[in-house]
Symmetry: C2
Subunit: 328 residues, 2 copies
């Protein structure tokens, strides 16, 4: 796969394609990032963007993981020391998951977000951004009664992070697009460059195929899951024999194959007894999806296979988590 295709794989959108092509032409030394609020256990939301970071490393870019400890602190996630412990656990899991340690820079927000220059630039951004514009960049639109002033300031901090981390590409889930578009508008106000951005898709809820698989509600997949839990969750997943279920529904089993499994394995083998047709082997997502559509691959076999590949992906991180817990 060429550099451009690797960068673009499974991206839901990039802004702009032209800028990403330029990056692909000369990826060496270019810096891409995702920001995470430190959390003890990686879940599917982290893994989706982590897969993209692994692609980008493979494409020759340097990867920056922002550990947003200042936000965690402000959100009441403990003292800075406690948050740092959590973040170090998270970091170990990212590496176990497959991020190359020597090509990944883990940066704490507190190492630059409280410095004088940053703070002054933040105040400049606050002055150049209308309340309405900042409100439109909030993750979820809230009214003035429930929204806090911080809901307007945080997006501006994310805008500045892109400059202060000296990035060439901002990566995030689709829910980050509003902030990244704000960054493209606002960074030039401070005479900084606008940067391209890349957004990963949203995986649908595992059991219903609706909306978004999240760590806060419904079934999700995390590094804490045992092999058995994983099997149980995947086996009860929504998986009609089609890529495109009715209405707004999605097929989360296929999505997990597409976004999580195929990018990380050259070949995906469906173990199947000879009496049911014997093993199937796929080198690309599309052939697996075609077989599910045609009936050649039964949803139950697809689920069993998915569970076992996810288990393999998660196992090193799960082990790391266990070791770290044993130490503490």
């Amino acid at each position: 796969m060429d550099t451009y295709d690797l960068i673009m794989r499974n991206a839901e959108e990039v802004v702009t394609d032209e800028e990403v092509r330029e990056l692909a032409d000369d990826p060496a030394g270019k810096r891409a990032y995702v920001g995470y609020e430190p959390s003890g256990v990686l879940h599917i939301g982290h893994l989706l963007t982590a897969n993209k970071l692994i692609d980008l490393q493979e494409a020759g870019l340097d990867v920056v993981v922002l550990l947003a400890d200042v936000h965690a602190y402000l959100n009441g996630k403990g003292t800075f020391e406690e948050i740092r412990d959590t973040a170090e656990r998270m970091k170990a899991q990212f590496i176990a998951y497959g991020l190359e340690e020597d090509k990944t820079e883990f940066v704490y927000g507190s190492s630059f977000q409280l410095e004088e220059d940053y703070t002054l630039d933040l105040h400049e951004l606050e002055l150049s951004t209308t309340m309405n514009r900042a409100q439109r960049a909030m993750a979820e639109l809230q009214s003035g009664e429930t929204a806090k002033v911080s809901h307007l300031v945080y997006p501006l901090m994310q805008v500045l992070d892109i400059e202060y981390l000296d990035l060439d590409l901002a990566v995030g889930g689709l829910d980050q697009r509003k902030v990244h578009m704000l960054a493209r508008e606002e960074l030039p106000e401070l005479e900084y460059d606008a940067r391209p951005c890349l957004h990963t898709p949203i995986v649908a809820d595992l059991t219903s195929g609706e909306g978004k698989m999240s760590s806060s509600e419904g079934a999700t997949i995390s590094m804490e899951d045992s092999t058995e839990e994983l099997e149980e969750k995947v086996n009860s997943a929504f998986c009609p024999p089609t890529r495109d279920p009715e209405g707004d529904l999605e097929n989360p089993v296929l999505e997990l194959f597409e976004y999580h499994v195929f990018p990380r394995f050259e070949t995906v083998v469906v173990e199947r007894p000879e009496e049911y047709g014997g093993p199937l082997s796929y080198e690309a997502y599309d052939s697996l999806a075609d077989d599910l559509e045609s009936g050649e691959l039964h949803p139950a076999d697809a689920k069993g296979t998915l569970a076992s590949y996810l288990d393999e992906l998660i196992e090193p991180g799960r082990r790391t988590l266990r070791e770290l817990r044993a130490e503490s």
Copy 2:
């Protein structure tokens, strides 16, 4: 005048009276402040609060003058160096006007407002304050289209200044009351103490007696005014022979006597030729106002007297300004 009366003189309101009484009982080492955005020339708005600071010094309090250079910088008033020059000129005028140099601490905003602890506390305040609450504290209510994010953040910085300057009393014009009330609500959210506040009245527009005398529109009085300019402005001022003109109008000539002249002079003498009744002498504002009401004191004589006392008040600052300009 006892300490409490001196603190309260010409105050439009204090919050709360009980807290101010406590301050008055033991004023030594207590710190009161006003914040100003550095400006080259003191005008009536500065002088009104400066009069109060002089009262407070006389009452035994220490006085802190915040030179808000960060805000001036963000408002495009020049580089930090240029703003510092402006602020130093302002400082010299305050001292020439009557602030006691060794009882006045001049503090630059940039000396603490960009530090890590302050910034982190500011983010905490942003998180504990709803957008609506912060909007209600803005100097002028603006809509989301015109209001900038900074309009919500600045009041929160003023709130924190009160803590970081270790103040016991926040002083400002009536236009600061909303911010000071916000401070009383929000400082305890960060486990800091709420502080009492004191607000000076608004002087009406000189020529119309309506609204507010401001430096930006209409006639105002500043340290730049020559004796002749001052005479001309005061002579064309609105001055009906009453304390309480019709409707919403005020008598700005009487207000200037009350808030500016009487606090600074023990006796006010109206020079008047023998043929018009000879000189009049007042030790209190009320007797002068009574005489204006009764017709004993003619508005033209009141104006002439006001101009000459204001001139005396302004002269040292005007000289300082001239000297500083000659140097640069």
